[in-house]
């Protein structure tokens, strides 16, 4: 085929342009670390990377939820442990008061202690966490128990999503721990014990012994429930941590460039570019020397 000069020049230009754009692409991959820098680089991988990225964001959200909830669940658990200690002490007082004969002064001392312990239990039941009162159900803004122990909260669950499709109750029921909803109204039982001790009514005191241990069991059950929630949060978090590692690996495989590959591609395209430049230079020299023959 007859080759015109314009054809030669255009071929040179085309080759250098091609080598330049290949080099620029390799440089982009090596410097950004991304094999897929725009959807058109690999539409399937880019679309999948979006979904994986979304799952990563969701996983992050769930882990944030867990870490912000864990504190309150832990606090509920330890508060109920303290409440249980009080119930045990009340049980011991009832047992002691029921077994011996007490004079009026001893009765008064014990009654005072019972009253103080009740106040303390009310304080525990009105424990506040980072998001309001812990034991009021969804009524987190007002103290769920009056000074006398009357319950003004509710027994509704507060829920949160702690994993893909995993919804769990994150509140610990104060109603079940302290009121008839859990079996016995702990505070009115304590009032009964106070009255029985104050009046020296042995039969009632002995009845209170069982009530105190029933109250203790009730609070322990609520505490165990909080403990199970903590364990569930921990398990969920561990699963999410694993998931986020898997997702990051997946995303890496989809859009990120292998550094070794990226750098070798860069070196290769650089050589190609240099070759194209030197070939074009020698072609131009040939054309120039042909023209020089004119002189």
């Amino acid at each position: 085929m007859r080759i015109a000069d314009t054809t030669r020049f255009r071929n040179i230009q085309d080759q250098v342009t091609r080598a330049q754009s290949a080099h620029a692409e390799a440089a982009r991959q090596a410097s950004s670390g991304l094999r897929v820098g725009a959807p058109s680089d690999d539409p399937v991988a880019a679309a999948q990377a979006l979904r994986v990225g979304h799952s990563m964001a969701r996983t992050g959200t769930f882990r944030n939820t867990i870490s912000s909830l864990r504190g309150d669940v832990e606090l509920a658990e330890s508060t109920l442990a303290g409440a249980d200690d009080i119930m045990k002490r009340l049980h011991d007082i009832a047992l002691g008061a029921g077994s011996g004969t007490l004079d009026a002064k001893e009765q008064a001392v014990l009654a005072t202690e019972v009253a103080a312990l009740k106040d303390q239990l009310v304080a525990f039941a009105n424990q506040k966490g980072s998001m309001g009162y812990l034991f009021g159900g969804t009524k987190t803004e007002t103290a769920p128990f009056s000074a006398g122990g009357a319950f003004t909260g509710d027994d509704l669950d507060r829920t949160a999503e702690v994993g893909h499709g995993v919804v769990m109750t994150v509140s610990t029921s104060g109603a079940k721990a302290f009121t008839v909803a859990g079996g016995r109204d702990v505070f009115s039982d304590i009032d009964d014990l106070y009255d029985a001790i104050s009046t020296g009514d042995k039969t009632s005191i002995l009845a209170s012994v069982n009530q105190m241990s029933a109250g203790s069991r009730q609070i322990l059950a609520a505490r165990a429930d909080a403990g199970i929630k903590m364990a569930r949060l921990d398990t969920a978090d561990a699963t999410l941590e694993q998931t986020s590692v898997t997702l990051a690996t997946q995303r890496h495989g989809l859009v990120e460039a292998e550094p070794a590959q990226a750098y070798s591609a860069l070196a290769q395209t650089q050589h190609q570019l240099e070759a194209a430049m030197s070939v074009s230079k020698s072609l131009l020299d040939t054309l120039a020397s042909a023209t020089a023959a004119l002189r």
Binding site: M1, R2, I3, A4, D5, T6, T7, R10, N11, D14, L34, V36, G37, A38, P39, S40, D41, D42, P43, V44, A46, A47, A49, L50, R51, G53, H54, A57, R58, G60, T61, F62, N64, T65, S68, L69, M131, G132, G137, T138, K139, T140, E141, D154, L156, R158, T159, A160, E161, H164, G165, V167, V170, S171, V255, L287, A290, T291, A293, L294
Partner: protein, 460 residues
């Protein structure tokens, strides 16, 4: 026959070789002139009647063209130009949806569902409620902005098409004028090669703008059909205009001088105009439609769930977004006016019984992220969005591949055409030497004849 004839031969030879040198000079001078077609000096033996004197005469200038190769080059140029204009339009669209470079809606979608999740954790925290409103507002704003940019681009493509149509009209009228001058030149006996060079270059330029078909009619007039309708016929040219149909679609019209118009929109398949039209009426329309559906589906699903819950005031049935559609959803989506400035209206609780800290509805809102709420309830929100981005990526990838393929074909067609019509400096240098030597030899012939005559004269 005799020495006198020898002098005549020498004269003819000097003239002919001189002409050869002149043509070679023209070729060298115009080696890089766009549209220049290589000339050849056409020499022939001089015949006077039936007697052979052995002289040479100049028959004219040859212009090395191959109409078939020209037509192939025009067509390849058309397709190359359409691929480039579509690709550059798609580059801009892709830029709007490149989540890897920080644009796109993926992060706004993540933030929206993330805010529902944070709300579920702490439903009566005013900050969490405000954050939910802010995320919803931002999500709507990002979609509106993307939609606005697409609309701007749609307008830009129309403006570009109008500018291109004006160029087509201009080129067509120049071609018509040149056609007139060429026929005048031919009537006057000149060959009009330079005029033809200019005209053919303009035809090549025209092919870059719109798909054309050229032929010569029975009367020898050049006829150019653009997208099937006659644009240039001899020295008459029609105008090309671009406007929009009542539905907003791009219309490409050929307007004859007598006022008749032809709608050639559907036939405009190549050239810059073809690429602009495809980008605007096929690619952008599809992207817009998908974006509308995505915005509509997400907003509707969120609204339905949000209306099922109650705000801190115990009142339900409130929408989080205002959206119309599905057509036009992306342009219209906003945070519902009643919600603006009222974080307490965010429906985290599912009933007034679980106020203030009930989170059942917030959890349900957050779980919409994993529910098939989009594309006819078959895809989740992020899946629908990733489908949209994948589709754009696919379009842009194929347009980029098209550019490479089409420009390689164009390059090849140009090389083929130039192998007939282009100037090769090597060849011209050889021709130069050839004519130079022949000219020198002719001078020698003249001198020899002259000396012979002189000797003859001296002998008298």
């Amino acid at each position: 026959m005799g020495i006198n004839n020898l002098l005549g031969l020498a004269r003819d030879a000097l003239t002919a070789q001189g002409f050869g040198l002149d043509v070679t000079g023209q070729n060298i001078a115009n080696a890089s002139t766009p549209g220049y077609v290589r000339r050849t000096a056409q020499l022939e033996t001089r015949a006077v009647g039936t007697v052979t004197y052995g002289g040479v005469s100049v028959a004219g200038i040859g212009r090395s063209v191959d109409r078939y190769l020209d037509a192939r080059t025009y067509e390849a140029g058309s397709f190359s130009a359409s691929a480039r204009s579509r690709d550059s339009a798609l580059t801009q669209v892709e830029g709007l949806f490149n989540d890897m470079a920080g644009s796109g809606l993926g992060s706004a979608l993540d933030a929206l569902f993330g805010s529902f999740s944070a709300l579920a954790t702490n439903p009566n925290d005013p900050t969490a409620r405000s954050a939910t409103l802010a995320s919803a507002d931002n999500f709507a704003a990002r979609i509106r902005e993307t939609s606005r940019q697409l609309l701007t681009q749609r307008q830009d493509l129309l403006t570009q098409a109008q500018a291109t149509a004006a160029q087509v009209t201009d080129i067509a009228s120049q071609i018509a004028k040149l056609n007139g001058r060429i026929s005048e030149a031919e009537v006057a006996g000149a060959d009009g090669s330079d005029l033809k060079d200019s005209r053919d270059k303009l035809v090549g330029d025209l092919a870059q703008k719109i798909n054309i078909h050229t032929f010569t009619d029975g009367a020898g007039k050049l006829v150019i059909a653009a997208a099937g309708a006659t644009l240039v016929e001899g020295n008459n040219a029609a105008a090309l205009t671009v406007n929009t149909s009542p539905g907003g679609a791009m219309q490409i019209l050929v307007q004859r001088a007598n006022g008749t118009t032809f709608d050639v929109s559907a036939q405009t398949t190549a050239g810059t105009l073809g690429g602009l039209r495809e980008a605007r009426e096929t690619d952008l329309v599809a992207v817009n439609q998908k974006l509308d559906q995505f915005a509509y589906d997400v907003a509707t699903a969120v609204n339905t769930q949000h209306a099922a819950g109650v705000g801190l005031d115990g009142i339900g049935l409130r929408n989080l977004f205002t959206v119309s559609g599905p057509t036009g959803a992306a342009a219209s989506i906003t945070l519902d006016a009643a919600m603006v400035g009222h974080p307490e209206y965010v429906a985290a609780a599912s009933s007034s019984a679980e106020l203030p800290a009930g989170s059942t509805n917030a959890v349900a809102l957050s779980r919409l992220a994993d529910a098939s709420i989009a594309t006819g309830n078959t895809r989740t929100a992020i899946e629908a969005y990733s489908d949209l981005v994948g589709d754009i990526g696919q379009r842009k990838m194929s347009s980029a591949q098209d550019v490479n393929l089409r420009s390689a074909i164009f390059s090849q067609a140009q090389a083929m055409r130039e192998s007939t019509s282009g100037v090769s400096m090597d060849e011209e240098l050889i021709a130069l030497s050839r004519y130079q030597r022949a000219y020198e030899a002719a001078s020698k012939l003249f001198r020899t004849a002259d000396e012979l005559l002189a000797n003859l004269m001296r002998s008298f």
